[in-house]
Symmetry: C2
Subunit: 338 residues, 2 copies
DNA sequence: GCCTACGATGTGAACGCTCGCCACGTGGCG
DNA sequence: CGCCACGTGGCGAGCGTTCACATCGTAGGC
């Protein structure tokens, strides 16, 4: 207490400036009800001492931390990561700080522990970027005393949880429709892991669109989002006979699939049309550039924060899904005649 | 105070359990020096009331927040993102929570504001994932009263800042050496943006390795990390005449480059050998699978936290760089004879 | 059988801040 | 010329914890 490298406090500033700490506090927040002279003097001392407000003391008395917790998938996958950045950025714009916890696999115990941790740290709300079915379930089980927004193409099954998502089913329909409209009567589907809600929903969209056109749905092939799984499936399909077009549940899988095609001398889009999903950063660089579905992560991120803020402040919120768009490039074309 | 949805506090628990708040506190931390009977009773009440410790009050009195700030690039680029996840995960393992701020472009004002914000929130240290030259500079300018670890292939120019990085220069040498050892006498380089330290360092490694083999360095081509820039350069190079091999500063650029090649009917690795950098998730899925350099993000993340923790606790730390490895796949082969 | 020591618990203060309220002085108004 | 109002500032309390210390009772040592 005698020497110490302790950070200066309100009282230190007050002492040096010759006013009460109350006045200093007023200068810091708003600066209202303080004469210009005192105010300038105090500001001077603050700069001189390098004073920085202590937000934890402040949070203690106001009981508002202005922070939110974000739980995200640890995999460097394009979608989840872009969403994370968008959410954080929107939070900061709203004056909130994001505490983030990434997890490579959402073990119930770990998720529960993380929720608890967030609560103890006093977050005002939690965002769960929950593409995996398992994470979604776990998150819903945790009794949340807090507003929770789950970014997931699923259903809200808990009163405290608001679900918000990009309408990926629509995205899948757009992709499928594009192929149909190009003239393909045969639109296959290489699905993503059904352990992910995204995988389930994209599959559903493809089915629905085919039905709308009274087209039969070929047998579905299931990958696990990895390019390798798609490559293997691609090889098998080359041997079994290729459809005239295929909607693949992710760009990365599309890439692996195409590799199998090229090894067999099959050309894209001449021999087979392909539409992917994600509009990954590499999608325009593939040979040929991938026609794919783009999700609007920035929009999702900011809408998500809007919803969370609304919940925190007890407002009614609109959580109608965001809408994706089709990005047409060169990997899908009209089928060859005959 | 009469009704209120206020969270129960230590005192509430104490009252119900019929003990002093001090005893409850003891039960929560360690539980030492408390008789089993009281302890169980208190634990019961805690569960019953759904009591959760208030970390902000705790932080106020202990003046330790057990949190760190992380500043990262907002771009969903593979490297930075993987690093972020690794750092956060290592932090959590060490009992710390990560506050993260992403920024798409490191404007000095914004970075400074973010630093200040972190300080006000009482973080015990800051990690800057700073691939861009500009971010690195800004971060160094901010007078940090805190331990700062900068993940950046640069030099520490500020006393308070510890720089740590993956030895990308070595990575670039590994890539170049591989090509030389395959028998290529002509190893070109398609560099990344020189606005990024990574870009500068990879270029330097290529030069150094060539010099070590007494090989001449062909004129460097400069991309900007985008696949599109590489595609354009590729087209020009096809027209001007291709080298027998090329080291490309990122996998994404390699992909764009290959697209230009394929459009012109050039084959890889038959006509030209290519080595990329990053081992991006799509690298093994490209046709042909990319030989590339893999950085050990997990290691970097955990070492980075080790270093930061060391600094926080005043220990001496080893910040020798992490070492990348070459991943050999199919995009580089021996040159054709003649 | 008395003193010591230790195990189990309680008390008071402090962390750095904000909030509600009160005190002082000056100016405008009746 | 007195009153009220308002602009300016100070004081006290309290947010939920932990820490240092005090207290109390009882078991163990001589």
């Amino acid at each position: 207490m005698s020497s110490g490298a302790r950070r200066p406090s309100l009282k230190d500033v007050a002492r040096v400036a010759g006013v009460s700490y109350q006045t200093v506090s007023r200068v810091i927040n708003g600066g209202d009800r303080v004469s210009v002279a005192t105010r300038d003097r105090v500001l001077g001392v603050i700069a001189e001492l390098g004073y920085r407000r202590n937000d934890v003391a402040r949070a203690l008395v106001t009981s508002r931390t202005r922070s939110i917790g974000v739980i995200a998938d640890a995999s460097p996958k394009f979608g989840p990561v872009s969403t994370l950045a968008a959410v954080e950025s929107a939070a900061r714009d709203a004056g909130y700080t994001a505490l983030v916890a990434t997890m490579s696999y959402p073990e119930p115990a770990v998720v529960a522990r993380t929720f608890q941790d967030f609560v103890e740290r006093g977050v005002e709300g939690i965002v769960v970027i929950a593409p995996r079915v398992s994470l979604a379930h776990v998150a819903q089980e945790v009794t949340a005393s807090l507003p929770v927004v789950m970014l997931s193409p699923g259903e809200a099954s808990q009163p405290g949880i608001t679900v918000f998502y990009e309408d990926q089913e629509l995205g899948a329909r757009l992709a499928t429709r594009h192929l149909v409209e190009l003239g393909h009567r045969e639109v296959a589907h290489l699905a993503g892991s059904q352990d992910w809600l995204d995988g389930q929903v994209r599959l559903r969209g493809w089915q629905a669109e085919l039905r709308a056109h009274q087209l039969a749905a070929p047998a579905v092939r299931y990958g696990d989002w990895t390019g390798e799984s798609a490559y293997l499936i691609g090889r098998r399909m080359v041997a079994d006979g290729l459809p005239s077009s295929i909607f693949i549940a992710s760009d990365l899988m599309a890439l692996g699939f195409i590799r199998a095609l090229y090894e067999a001398g099959v050309r894209v889009p001449d021999d087979i049309s392909i539409v992917g999903f994600d509009d990954n950063e590499f999608a325009p660089q593939v040979y040929p550039p991938l026609t794919t579905v783009r999700q609007s992560f920035a929009t999702v991120g900011s809408r998500c924060m809007e919803i969370l803020l609304g919940r925190i402040e007890g407002r009614e919120v609109d959580n109608s899904p965001a809408v994706p768009e089709l990005v047409i490039r060169d990997s899908a074309a009209a089928p060859r005649l005959g």
